[in-house]
C-alpha cells in the first residue's frame, strides 16, 4: 500500500453509507449470484423444452381411436365343417376374419344411413386396423360357440384415422397422403357423430406387444415393460449382494496397499467406461462363450449388472465410510467380533446410503440402450416372455430399446408412440428416483 491512498482529506463515512469498495464488492456478489441463477435457468429451460416436446408429442398416444362394431360371425365362413373344432377353425386366417369385419362395417354404414360420394370398398376396409382381425380370430378360437352369433367388438381404427382424431392428419394432408383419402376422413366424421368411432384411454399402449409398420395403432409397450422389469430383477439380485460384499471387504478388511489402490482406481475407471463396451463384453462372454440365448433378458440383466456394479460399489463404500469409527470401536469394545460389528451395526447404519446408490444405479441401467444393441435385444419381439425364471431366457425387448426402434419407423404415427414410450420410461425413472430420495430423507443419519 502506498501512502497516496490515504493522503489528502478522506472524509470519514458512516459504516452504513457504502463506500466505493463496498459497492464494488456488493456488485460482484450480485453478479456471482446472477451467474448461478443463469446456470439454473439454462438447466430449467433445457428440462422444460425436453419435457414439453416429449409431452406434446407423446401425450396423445395414451388415447386411441376405436370402432364399435357388431360382427356377425358367419358359420359358413369360419367353420365350414360345422363341428366347432378349434383345430379345424384355425385354417381360416386373419385374412378371412378381415373380410368379415369389412362387411360388418359396411352394414353399419348402410344401417346408419351414411352416404359419402365416391367411397370405395377399399376406403371402408382401410378404416379398420389390421390388428382387429387377429383380435376377433383369437376370441373366436378361444370361444368356438360364438360362431353363428352377432358379437359386439371394440376394434382399433386405422392409424391415419386415429391421427385425424388427434389432429395429426388433416383433409389437406390426406389429399396428398397415399395411405388415407379425404373420403375416409369424411366417413370418420360421420361415424364419430353416430358414436361408432370413439376415442378412449389406450390401455393397449401399456399392455400390447410391438406391432409391425402396417399397424402402428396397435403397437404397445407390454413386452418392453416386462423385459425391462426382468432385467431390473436380475440386476438387483446380482449387483446388490456382489457390490455390497465387495465394498465391505474393501472398506473393512482389505489392507491398504498397492493392490487395493489398484483395485480402487479400476473400479472408478469402470464406472466411466462407455456402456457399449459392456455390450461387446456381453456378446463375447455370455452369448458366444457361455452359450446363452440372444435377445434374452438374462443376458441383458448380466450385462447391465456389470455396468451397475461400480456405481453400487462406490456408493456403498461412501456409505460405509460415513459410519463413524466410534460405532465399530464400541461394538468391538463390548466383545463383538468384526463380523458382528459389521452385520449388526455398520451395515444397518449404512443401508440408506447403499439403497440410494443401488436405486440410482438401477435407474441408470433402466435407461441404457447401447449395450443391448449388441446382444440382440434391439429386436421386433411380439410374444410375451414367460413367467420367471424360465421367462428370463425368452426373447424380450426393453423400454429404451422400444423408443429407439420406434423412432426409426417410417410411419409418422410412430413418432407419437416413441414419445409416449419416453413418457412411460420417465415415469418409471421418476418413481425410482423419488423412492431413493424418500429413503435418504427418512433413514439417513448424520453424525
Amino acid at each position: 500500500m502506498t501512502d497516496a491512498t490515504f493522503s489528502g482529506a478522506v472524509p470519514r463515512q458512516s459504516l452504513y453509507a457504502p463506500d466505493e469498495g463496498m459497492r464494488r464488492r456488493n456488485a460482484a456478489e450480485a453478479r456471482f449470484r446472477l451467474y448461478g441463477l443463469i446456470a439454473v435457468g439454462i438447466g430449467l429451460v433445457a428440462l422444460v423444452l425436453l419435457l414439453s416436446s416429449v409431452l406434446l408429442n407423446g401425450a396423445s398416444s395414451f388415447r386411441q381411436a376405436s370402432l364399435l362394431l357388431d360382427v356377425p360371425l358367419d358359420a359358413a365362413v369360419l367353420d365350414k365343417a360345422g363341428d366347432r373344432d378349434p383345430e379345424k377353425m384355425k385354417r381360416v386366417t386373419t385374412i378371412g376374419y378381415g373380410k368379415l369385419l369389412d362387411t360388418a362395417l359396411k352394414e353399419m354404414i348402410a344401417s346408419k344411413g351414411i352416404v359419402i360420394e365416391g367411397l370405395t370398398d377399399k376406403d371402408v376396409s382401410d378404416m379398420i386396423s389390421k390388428e382387429a382381425a387377429a383380435l376377433v380370430r383369437n376370441r373366436v378360437l378361444a370361444h368356438p360357440d360364438l360362431v353363428g352369433q352377432t358379437v359386439s367388438f371394440k376394434v382399433l381404427a386405422n392409424g391415419r384415422i386415429d391421427g385425424y382424431l388427434k389432429g395429426r392428419v388433416s383433409m389437406e394432408s390426406a389429399a396428398r397422403d397415399s395411405n388415407v383419402s379425404p373420403n375416409q376422413l369424411r366417413l370418420a366424421d360421420a361415424l364419430r357423430e353416430e358414436g361408432v368411432l370413439i376415442k378412449a384411454f389406450n390401455w393397449l399402449f401399456i399392455t400390447a406387444p410391438d406391432a409391425s409398420e402396417l399397424r402402428p395403432e396397435a403397437a404397445g409397450l407390454g413386452v418392453a415393460i416386462l423385459g425391462s422389469a426382468y432385467m431390473m430383477i436380475i440386476v438387483l439380485v446380482l449387483s446388490l449382494p456382489i457390490g455390497v460384499a465387495a465394498s465391505v471387504y474393501l472398506e473393512e478388511f482389505a489392507p491398504k496397499n498397492r493392490w487395493t489402490d489398484l483395485i480402487e482406481v479400476n473400479i472408478s475407471n469402470l464406472a466411466a467406461v462407455p456402456s457399449i463396451v459392456f455390450g461387446i463384453l456381453g456378446l463375447a462372454v455370455f452369448i458366444n462363450f457361455a452359450g446363452l440365448p440372444q435377445s434374452a433378458p438374462v443376458v441383458g440383466g448380466l450385462v447391465l449388472t456389470l455396468m451397475t456394479l461400480p456405481t453400487i460399489i462406490i456408493a456403498t463404500r461412501a456409505a460405509l465410510k460415513a459410519v463413524p469409527p466410534s460405532i465399530r470401536e464400541a461394538a468391538l469394545g463390548v466383545g463383538a467380533s468384526k463380523m458382528q460389528s459389521i452385520l449388526h451395526h455398520v451395515l444397518p447404519l449404512a443401508m440408506p446410503g447403499i439403497l440410494t446408490g443401488a436405486i440410482i444405479g438401477l435407474a441408470q441401467a433402466l435407461g441404457e440402450t447401447a449395450p443391448l444393441l449388441l446382444i440382440g435385444m434391439v429386436a421386433f419381439v411380439r410374444d410375451y416372455p414367460g413367467a420367471p425364471p424360465e421367462g428370463f431366457f425368452d426373447p424380450a425387448s426393453a423400454l429404451p430399446v422400444q423408443v429407439y426402434n420406434w423412432t426409426q419407423r417410417a410411419d409418422p404415427a410412430f413418432v407419437e408412440r416413441a414419445s409416449g414410450a419416453i413418457i412411460v420410461l420417465l415415469i418409471f425413472l421418476l418413481i425410482m428416483n423419488a423412492v431413493a430420495i424418500v429413503l435418504r430423507r427418512k433413514f439417513e443419519r448424520r453424525w
Partner: protein, 343 residues
Amino acid sequence: MNTVKFTVSAIAMAAAATAADARDQIQIAGSSTVLPYATIVAEAFGENFDFPTPVVEGGGSGAGRKKLCEGVGENTIDIANSSSRIKQSDIDLCASNGVSEVMEVRIGYDGIVFASDINGPEFAFTPADWYNALAAEVVKDGALVANPNKTWADVNPALPAQDILAFIPGTKHGTREVFDVKVLEAGCEETGALEALKAAKGEEEGPKGCLTLRTDGASVDIDGDYTETLARIDANKNAIGVFGLSFYQNNTDKLRVATMGGVVPSTESIASGEYPVSRPLYFYVKKAHLGVIPGLQEYIDFFVSDDMAGPDGPLAAYGLVSDPELAATQAMVAAGTPMGPLN
C-alpha cells in the same frame, strides 16, 4: 446372513443360466430395409400359426450375413435379411464356420426414390444430372475439372436454380451400393467422365473416380435411417434426399418425388423395369436349421406365399415390388434348394 444367502442364490442363478433350454422361436437379423417387411410377415405368422412370433432384428445387411455365418446351433440366427446379394467373402466365412448350405430367397424388389420437400419445385432427374451434381470431378467443355456446379440449373438448365444439397445414404447402407451403381456409375458413363477418368488415371483407378464425391458439403452422407434424412430435409427445405420407395409411400404428404429418366417411381414402373434405380431384396436361410428350429420351413413358405409377397399382399401394400418370378421362388423354397456358387 442375508448377504450370504443373496450371494449363494446369485451364484446359483448364474450357474442355471448356462443350462438354457432349447430355442423355439425363429431368429432373424439383417437389413433395415427388409426389416419392416420381415416384421409384417412375422406378425401375421405369429397370428395365424401355432408357432411363436419370430424375433426380427435390424443391424444392416452385412452385419446380418456375418451373424448368419457365425456357425450352426441355437445361439446363431436362422435367417439373414439382406438388401444386397451375398458376397463371396460371406460364403467363405460361412464355409469356414461349418455353415455349408444356405438358401437364397428373393422376396421382391425395392425402388430407390429421390424426393424433396413437398412445397419445393418439381425435379426431373437423369443419372447424368446426379453425377454432374455430386462427383468430385466432372467433364466440362471436354476437360476433366473439379466440380464447379453450384445449383441444379448449372448441372442441367432444365432444372430449377436451387443450390445443390443432397442427403445420400452412408456407405454402410445397402441402398448406397445401388445408388453408386445405378446412378453414379451410369451417370459417369453417360457424361463421358468415365472415359476421361480412365484416360487420366488408368483403367484400374479411373472407374473408382466415378464414385468419388465432392467434399464441399453439397453431398451429405446420412449414416442413420430414412427418418433422419426426412428430418434433415425438414430443416433444409432445398435439399434432395434419397429414400426407399416404401418410406416415401408412407410420407407422401411431406415429400415430393422426382422422376428419374422421365419415369415416376411406383411399384408398377419398378416391376416393369422402366424405373432404373431398383434392387432385389433377399433373405438367406441357414439350411442346417430347417427341421431343428420349429416353424422355420413354415415361415419361409409363408413369407413367399401369394398371400404375403404377392402383388395384392400386405408387403406390396407397404411398398415392396412383387417379384414376377415369385412362383419359381415358392417352388425353390418348398424344395429347399440351397444356392449355388455366385456367378
